[in-house]
């Protein structure tokens, strides 16, 4: 039920992001959604893309600190209050969300999140009839 996300460790300094984007661009990999979380010293650039496995190898071969992380991508209707409902269901069950970001995909809202309690989260998703995105949707 999880999908693969690139987590890329970058220095908090100009010029570090473009190096990563350049490598992905040259391999014709499409970025579906991305977000940067930063500290004073470093940042983590999180990317959903069209071919995460291939992208991972390319970045790694070029000496980039990268990890393939398992995240859940919940789809919700593009309407007010839908994110709150989904997160409430998880939260009520005691699922701890490490990070989350959202984007629009083909008219639907997508909440991408990572949790260390995957099996509990899966149960909540199943019981509440929450829809998940599949990696194949991102294939070019």
């Amino acid at each position: 039920m999880t999908i693969k996300q690139l987590s890329i460790f970058i220095e908090n300094k100009s010029g570090t992001l473009i190096r990563v984007l350049d490598l992905l661009s040259r391999a014709n990999i499409q970025i579906i959604a991305s977000t940067i979380a930063d500290t004073q010293d470093y940042g983590i650039y999180r990317v959903l893309c069209s071919a995460p496995g291939e992208a991972y190898l390319i970045l790694k071969d070029n000496g980039i600190n990268v990890q393939l992380a398992d995240v859940m991508a919940i789809t919700i209707d593009d309407e007010p209050g839908r994110a709150a409902l989904a997160v409430k269901a998880l939260s009520d069950a005691g699922v701890n969300i490490l990070y989350m970001y959202s984007f629009l995909w083909k008219g639907k809202g997508v909440l991408t999140m990572r949790t260390d309690e995957v099996s509990l989260a899966e149960e909540v998703i199943k019981n509440n009839n929450i829809q998940l995105l599949n990696e194949n949707e991102f294939l070019l």
């Binding site: 987590s7 460790f9 010293d41 600190n65 990572r114």
Partner: protein, 443 residues
Amino acid sequence: MSRNFPPDTCPYLHEEMETLTREQISALQLERLQATVRHCMNSPFYKQRFEEIGLKPEDIKSLDDIRKIPFTTKADLRDTYPFGMASVPLRECTRLHSSSGTTGTPTVILHTKKDLEEWANQVARNLWMVGLRPDDVFQNSSGYGMFTGGLGFQYGAERMGMLTIPAAAGNSLRQIKFMTDFGTTALHAVPSYVTRLYEVMQSAGVDPRKDTKLKVLAIGAEPHSEEQRRRIEEMMGVKAYNSFGMSEMCGPGVGFECQEQNGLHFWEDYYIVEIVDPETLEPVADGEIGELVLTSLCREAMPLLRYRTRDLTRVLGRTCPCGRNHVRIDRMRGRSDDMMVLRGVNIFPIQIEKILMTFPELANNYLITLTTDADNDNMTVEVELEELFTDDFRRLQELTNRIQRALKDEILLTPHVKLLPKGTLPVSEGKAVRVVDKRKVYQ
């Protein structure tokens, strides 16, 4: 009750020694060097070293003959650890100081009762020189224990007859209370700690000029620039005198600035001072920067001959308006090895490397940067992540904290640890640059 001190108006505690002419200094030094070399033949280390090169004590006929004697190094002290350098039996020793450095084998310096007395005499001479008298109140805010700045100044200030406050380092509010309650007139501390005290005074609403009786600061044990000294004087409203010492010679007391503040008088009745080119080991001319080499002339337990201090400095002059002809040495200009001195703590890059290498999460490259921020020395250690093993910030922060704690246990101060992606740090050709010193100390 007479305490055998000169009258307060006399500028010298040991007038006869302090005002020797150059000829008298040379004659005394030759006599003491010959005696020291003879005495060193009781040391297994020196006995063997002299035999190896066929040198006999009676070959030292002039001061220039000192150049026939091989240099002694820190490595020699390590190799003879713990007692192989001693020139007296252990039962004649009453004190042992060991290096705080944790690079492999530590070093040991032994003292006899007379050594400790002579050490106290040197410190007392210095404190008298900068205008302190038995009526003064001396607060020693220096670390005690193995760090010689504690006991060294303690015994010296007592020898001079002052009321002494062994406050030791830390607990700034208590330090300030001592100063105001006990009427402290003289304070000894590492320069960065004086700055820290001033900051705490400010936040506690204490004005050192109005609320204390302070008149003299003694600062040393960590490199600092002239600019830094002037700022400290400006803050505290008193003169700050530079002190030089090293445990190998005894501790603080070896050299001290007089009221001219134009170089440190190194006491030539106690030491022979040489400045040599660290590469060729040949003497350099006065005024030229080289490595300070010291020979102790009055030590019993463990005299050292031509000890390479690794400190870089130069001779400023051999006369002084204060009437003392003991050589004037510039403040230390750097090191001929890679030792860093930070807040009074001696640190070698290898200590940091050793710790970093115990973390499998880290790649091999690292960079140490030293900066001065509001007069405090700071260290940043940049390290590279071998693999991104998590994308959870908490776990990365936890790794940073673990590295920081392990480094602190080793080097005794807390550096800022900066995690970087692999391949970020410059890869130098040849010898890697591991330390960037951006402090203004050596300028």
